[in-house]
Subunit: 201 residues, 4 copies
């Protein structure tokens, strides 16, 4: 199986979405506005993970496009409010179609995981014509991202079965991350209030 | 005038077109096919050049979008045939609209300049909504590119008035470049013929 | 004053140090070891900031190389322990000379700021021969980095005089960041203990 | 065999040399001088090619560092003279040691191949200490590069045994490339003469 050729449209979708979202961040900078985007990453799901997930879900290999996270882009924001600004920006774009949304920011997962997920359909021009690609955009704060990255590697190490005592530690770390976001959000508001007062003079 | 903000959509169009065309090259590689693309470059016209051209053409600064080469992308091909393969690929894309085409490959300019130019309209999502951007795609061989790059810097140095003796030298260099393309094209055909004979066995 | 030419060796030092430290991270990955590096950034101090700092410190413009942070590289680590692993790695390198070290990790600043700073001399080959460049390497965790980035923009906005109520909020955010680092460090130890037990079997 | 880990110091040498040579090009630009560097590429020899060459030369796999072209960097110049400017620049550097030089520019190979090769020893800092890496730097003009790239792929296709009629065609292409370089060199001299006259006024 020529995986490189098969995954090329997904890799292309990831590259294009990264360039497009990085462009949005630059425009905020050029207009001297607060950018709701701290940084952007993207990846194509590694082949072993695709195979594993396809098996678990009984998806035959000629239908792997049913997996919705082969192409993944992550937008990391400074503040919690910024997440919703990004969600609205994505909703208004004309170069993609939203299929599904999951708000794990307001409704965190039992593990402590928090992020906003948007599943999209995105057209990619290939050497064989246009192909519609499914991609997942994850939007989260820096603190959520830090926590999720660590949880992900623990999950990987324990093959999904994190021991209970470590799980409760992870919960406490999730609370610390949440606390950090809260404290930062309060400062954000004060800063913007201070700026409004300043400009009203 | 906030040029960075003003030119942001053009810079964005250049970045996106570069990523899209680089993706096309990778797809040829992944499928082990001859890639008609050797490399891709792009640039936004520098502000002094925009101002100069706007003045010469009596275009007011609030209408600089009438300049068709503010956003420029260049596709450099190994062989002359490849130029037309790229032209056809661009004609078939659904993410851009062709406004104009100029074939300076078949009909070279008096100076010796050869390239295929396509003017397109390309939609860019900005933080203020969709903006249609005009961009120019230049398609040429490596030898044409080498010659054109040198002619361009001579033109810059002589402010468009290259002395006659140097002009005639440039002509001879253009002929040498043309000769190199011809010799290479002949080899290309022989190679592909050899391969067809090989596969027919 | 040709700032681009003047700052070129600093920009070069930043580029080279980034490539070298990114190489270290990749080597950890290739050998399937925990990487003490999450990501690396670098920047040359913007000209207005150089001018301002030179004035405050009464440094004439022909001696700006006395400023030790014109070239700056930042190494961001997952865990607090990793900071000292990076410090030791830098101490052992033969391609740079350490001039000074400041441990604001063990001894945080009054503002709540935490980071490890190393000042180095680094040889850069220029078109006029070798030039010794002073550069600053900052090493910190993700949580420290998040906090410091926000404090920096507040400092910028308030021109160094952050109002007291916001300052006390920043303190609380610093504590939340510290707490997050602590919780994550505890998990790190548990994970590595679990792995040691596993391998001892 | 963990090839990624084994080849990491070679990949690192390539990355560092690329960044260093690109820095040289930028310095010429910043000082508004003619840059003898048009572009730089680099690559680590693919594993199958390493295995093949080691077998042909009876080199055991634990001594592959005897192969001198595992790490390869290519400097492509606008004009023939520029090749020797680059050679002198490399000879004067203190961050590498020259082991060998081969001047296939003045003394072209029978095939028509032209390039200047420098074999160097280059120190790379790894997570296990300093490692001396052998690398090859190839220096050639744009026209030489174009020809060599095409010859390389023909050699690959014909497994080193290019049919005679194609070989003689390649010879003619090499002559056309040589002619192009000559014509361009003549213009280069005229341009610089014109500039000297201009400044003498």
């Amino acid at each position: 199986m020529n995986w490189e050729a098969l995954l090329a449209p997904y890799a292309q979708a990831v590259e294009e979405l990264k360039v497009k979202l990085k462009g949005i961040r630059k425009q905020y900078e050029y207009e001297s506005k607060h950018s709701p985007i701290e940084f952007i990453t993207g990846r194509v799901k590694p082949v072993p993970s695709i195979l594993e997930k396809a098996e678990v879900r009984h998806i035959p290999l000629d239908k792997i496009e049913e997996l919705q996270d082969i192409a993944g882009v992550r937008v990391v924001c400074p503040f919690v409010d910024d997440i919703y600004a990004i969600v609205n920006m994505i909703r208004s774009r004309e170069d993609l179609h939203i299929i599904d949304e999951k708000d794990y920011v307001s409704h965190k997962k039992k593990s402590g995981y928090r992020s906003f997920h948007i599943i999209i359909r995105y057209p990619v021009e290939t050497i064989h014509g246009v192909k519609m690609v499914i991609a997942e955009i994850q939007i989260r704060t820096l603190a959520m991202n830090f926590w999720a990255t660590n949880e992900h590697s623990l999950n990987y190490k324990y093959k999904g079965k994190i021991p209970e005592n470590i799980q409760s530690r992870l919960q406490r770390a999730a609370e610390a991350a949440f606390k950090l976001d809260e404290e930062m959000s309060i400062i954000k508001n004060e800063v913007q209030e201070a700026k409004r007062l300043f400009h009203r003079k």
